[in-house]
Symmetry: C2
Subunit: 189 residues, 2 copies
DNA sequence: ATAATTTGTAATCGGGTGTTGACTTGGTGG
DNA sequence: CCACCAAGTCAACACCCGATTACAAATTAT
């Protein structure tokens, strides 16, 4: 058995990036409390102390890892007439993407006091406000918040709590109803 | 200074009840991970070991404390024409009740794997199904789930993440929009 | 080549967690 | 009265956490 190369080339930016992607994965899977710095470091194949060095603390790592990825741009592209359908599809068509998922990370970190300010600010600035700007009519911010509530609640029920629709046709019905509810909030005026 | 009476009268059912109410409060405030058995015992003025004795484990305590209280009966009473208004009012009129709040407890425990099965079962059996039974038309379970998502998401945004409506009139607009969205899901057919 | 700075390592600190076992105390039935 | 058993106490266990310190190795600058 050949010895594992004792250390890869020294590259600060590469290791910070490795830490960030590992942190995103673990925060997604385990939440803020459940994610341990040792586990993150291990997955990044990096020494634990480097987390403190580069990000100051676990909270600093979370703030650096999660917020930049919270965006609604993909679904917001296109005309708002099809927004409900697009959003519903993006929620039900769980691409089962391994690794980082901003929504799961948010849901599983929301119970940790240290993470709350970070999450609130990012959600406000990068999701709710951009969405409200695309709405017309009265109370755009409130309607945007309700759309956000629908999305967040939907993901909490299905992905975190694991509530499953009973059948494939029920899944279709769910997606259609969701799309209709969202679109009603978009078209309201 | 008189000595504090070294111990109150021995009463197993009274102490289990004290543990339960203390547990409900702490789980509400700190979530499942954040709530410590020692803190619960201290608030109940009870020895920590009694938690293990009476409930087997922290998970057992959670299962005994939270699910029985998850109910929608108060809002479900009355005719379904006013359901949206009633539900929206019950959410925005945060009575700021101190102590136990099943919705907060659910939200802050949802990220803990040990709590998830308990929460899912209780939500399913005591909230979603009773609500679906009161709905008419197609896909009642799916529409009930979406109403649940709206409620859960709304509370997550406002109470857990602390997103605040900018003004009092904005709060009214939010409540009305929420009522309308819920009622639309109720009346759909 | 030598000094200085950055990058990575290893061990440890102080504290907190849920849970357990042995023990003591209180009330009660024989 | 006293033995018995439930109810409560106490101290410890084994484990995990985030953070820090002192040190070694590699890179860069002089």
């Amino acid at each position: 058995m050949s010895e594992t190369p004792p250390h890869r080339k020294r590259d600060a930016s590469a290791t910070t990036e490795a830490i960030l992607t590992a942190a995103r994965e673990v925060f997604t899977e385990k939440g803020y409390d459940g994610a341990g710095t040792r586990e993150i470091a291990e997955r990044a194949q990096v020494n634990v102390a480097l987390i403190s060095r580069y990000f100051g603390s676990k909270e600093g790592l979370f703030a650096a890892a999660v917020p930049p990825m919270m965006t609604l741009d993909a679904v917001l592209a296109g005309d708002m007439a099809g927004f409900g359908t697009r959003l519903a599809a993006s929620l039900t068509h769980k691409t089962a993407r391994k690794g980082f998922d901003p929504m799961l990370a948010l849901l599983r970190a929301a119970s940790s006091p240290e993470a709350v300010p970070v999450l609130r600010q990012a959600l406000q600035a990068q999701v709710l406000h951009p969405l409200a700007d695309r709405l017309e009519g009265p109370a755009t911010l409130e309607r945007a918040a309700l759309i956000g509530a629908l999305v967040v609640g939907f993901d909490l029920l299905t992905r975190v709590l694991g509530l499953t629709a009973t059948g494939a046709d029920a899944m279709d019905a769910l997606e259609q109803t969701l799309a209709k509810s969202v679109q009603a909030l978009v078209d309201q005026r």
